[in-house]
Amino acid sequence: MSGSYWNKCKSILKEKIQPHNFESWIEPIDFISYKNNQLELSVPSSFFVEWINEHYKESIVNIYQELSGAKTALSIIVSENGNSEKPKEKVHPDSSPAIAIKQIKEKTNLNEKYNFDSFVVGKSNEFCHASAKAVAGKLADAYNPLFIYGGVGLGKTHLMQAIGNAVLEKNPNLSVLYLSSEKFVNDLINSIQRGSMSYFRKKYRNLDLLLIDDIQFIAGKERTQEEFFHTFNTLFEMKKQIVMSSDKFPKDITNMEERLRSRFSWGLISDIQPPELEIKIAIVKKLISQNGFDVDDEVATFLARKVKSNIRELEGCVARVMAYASLTRKTSDKIIGMELAKETLKGIYDDTAKSMDIKQVQKAVCDFYSLKNSDLRSKSRLKSVTMPRHVAMFLCREFTNTSLPEIGQAFGGRDHTTVMHAVSKIKDELEVNTQLYNEINQIKKVLDI
């Protein structure tokens, strides 16, 4: 009888409140008991308790009193573990671990190739890599949520999926889901249309680890933001891990509700920077060797320089070289030569290395440090001049095709060993000096490299 009161109560509420509020707040409530005029309900999180108490408690109590004819008291509890009926992925006892994990990964949208071992670490991404590993090592501990931000094609998705794969390797019974924010939007739209919001909420609010890529795409989508807000709160309060990625820093995402933006910053914000040349070369060599081919330093450097600052494009670039090598049989000895590399990339990339000249670099450096071009060529040994001069020489060496003597000549007729010294000094400094690292990145942005 009392259970049927609850069903009647829900029907009445459905008539009284907005459909999306009903779906959001009433559907997820579970009836526990109604004894001695005491109604007990359970909800997924403590946040939910507050919300129901604030917005719907009075209505629920009034409806119950009308139905039962007796004064009713309401108590709301958080369900055991936040979600006692949580549908865990079961691993069949007869399945081999590898097959079982594979089956789970298919449901999690994770791609096995994205793991920590296949991620090439350098200064530009070591912090992000370390924070991702820390999260994978202990979920929902210090870094919750983990917010990874950085430019396109730098490895955000790789690190997110690596977290998911590492977590599942350790514990295949955990509920892990990786998806793009657009998939979340689509799922929400479909659930609303099919009237299956209750299922939607159970799906997203019962996870141990939610990995959501390109979160900036929910900007401007109010309903999605509302739903994600509650998903976030529920998971967070149940001490479940959330990892998000974006190409923007949280405060720079426009058309995003402030309450969400602020939540994105609750845990750790970890940025991933464009890779240095050395990392790009290492990636090229690794990818080519994985395909059973070999490449010398000159060709690897050529390929690495062709792609400005984007690992995804670098992967595409190597994929094309590999495809050409395999299909055109232009390599008899499994070695990628310069001719093949050049032919493959013709028309696809701007020849930045050639088109960039010393003057452009000098101008960008002078603009950034508020110097005159003549300062760079002068004999001045003031630190305010020597450091920018070294930076300019370093950038010329890295991003133009000019020789050391030519660079020396363009900086007041200096010897090539002076240029070598400057380049080496900046490289060493970049290892320890974060400010310089950021300054050089800003100049590179101006130069579009």
Partner: protein, 249 residues
């Protein structure tokens, strides 16, 4: 010839295949890559960009790849959509939900071909939708191919879209030379038992649309007209058969 049974209709119910695509030294390598891509022989590559001028045969190759993938996989979810369609759906949909109703069907595709991608360039919302489609298709194990006029160096797509397009193969497609087209037309005509004089072959390739499907169709029309009229193939007969008026010969 491959019978197209695509879930989403391709333009003009064309029967474009690799077999009826004109190949010469200018486009041979690209055609070979497209075929290998459709046969799943290029490991680790899930997307392909074809770039080249109008009439080079980009649509033909997109359709040829679609047919091959459909045949090999036995899957129905092989789709073709033009950039113009996407742009128009973005412009006319009143809500995001409505837009997703139109475009959501492509997300589970085994193969999605997006033609005339130039049409979405500079339209942020439309570019975002192509980006989402790319992710949805490739992340669920499907293949994605686009055709665009400009080479990557001239693209003005948003970085997140461009970088995904450049994750896979990017292939230039040059139109075959007129001499090759004429020679191939003559060879095909021989196969049909039709004698095609040089002047008619040259007339056809310079007067008709440059895509090979149109030219093959014209040849079949001329053949039927020649048989029914009991006359040898000549420029006047070809003009009659194709309904081309004016002193163009």
């Amino acid at each position: 010839m491959v019978t197209m049974q695509l879930k989403f209709p391709f333009p003009s119910a064309r029967n474009d295949s690799f077999e009826n695509f004109l190949v010469d030294g200018r486009n041979g390598e690209t055609v070979k890559f497209c075929k290998s891509f459709a046969e799943g022989e290029i490991s680790g590559v899930r997307s392909l960009v074809l770039y080249g001028q109008r009439g080079a045969g980009k649509t033909h190759l997109l359709i040829a790849m679609s047919s091959m993938i459909r045949e090999k996989s036995g899957e129905e979810s092989v789709f073709y959509v033009s950039g113009k369609d996407i742009r128009e759906k973005v412009a006319t949909s009143k809500t995001y939900e409505e837009l997703k109703e139109h475009l959501g069907k492509y997300e589970g595709a085994v193969f999605l071909a997006v033609d005339d991608l130039d049409e979405v360039e500079g339209n942020q919302e439309a570019e975002d939708q192509v980006f989402h489609l790319y992710n949805a298709v490739t992340q669920s194990g499907g293949w994605f191919a686009v055709a665009v006029t400009e080479p990557p160096t001239a693209w003005k797509f948003s970085s997140w879209l461009a970088t995904r397009l450049l994750w896979g193969l990017a292939l230039p497609l040059n139109p075959v030379g007129d001499e090759q087209k004429a020679a191939v037309l003559k060879r095909v005509a021989v196969g049909m038992g039709l004698t095609l004089p040089d002047n008619v072959a040259n007339w056809l390739i310079t007067r008709l649309p440059r895509d090979s499907a149109s030219q093959m169709e014209a040849l079949e029309t001329i053949d039927r007209h020649s048989l029914s009229a009991g006359r040898k193939v000549s420029i006047p007969l070809a003009r009659e058969a194709l309904g081309i008026t004016g002193d163009e010969a």
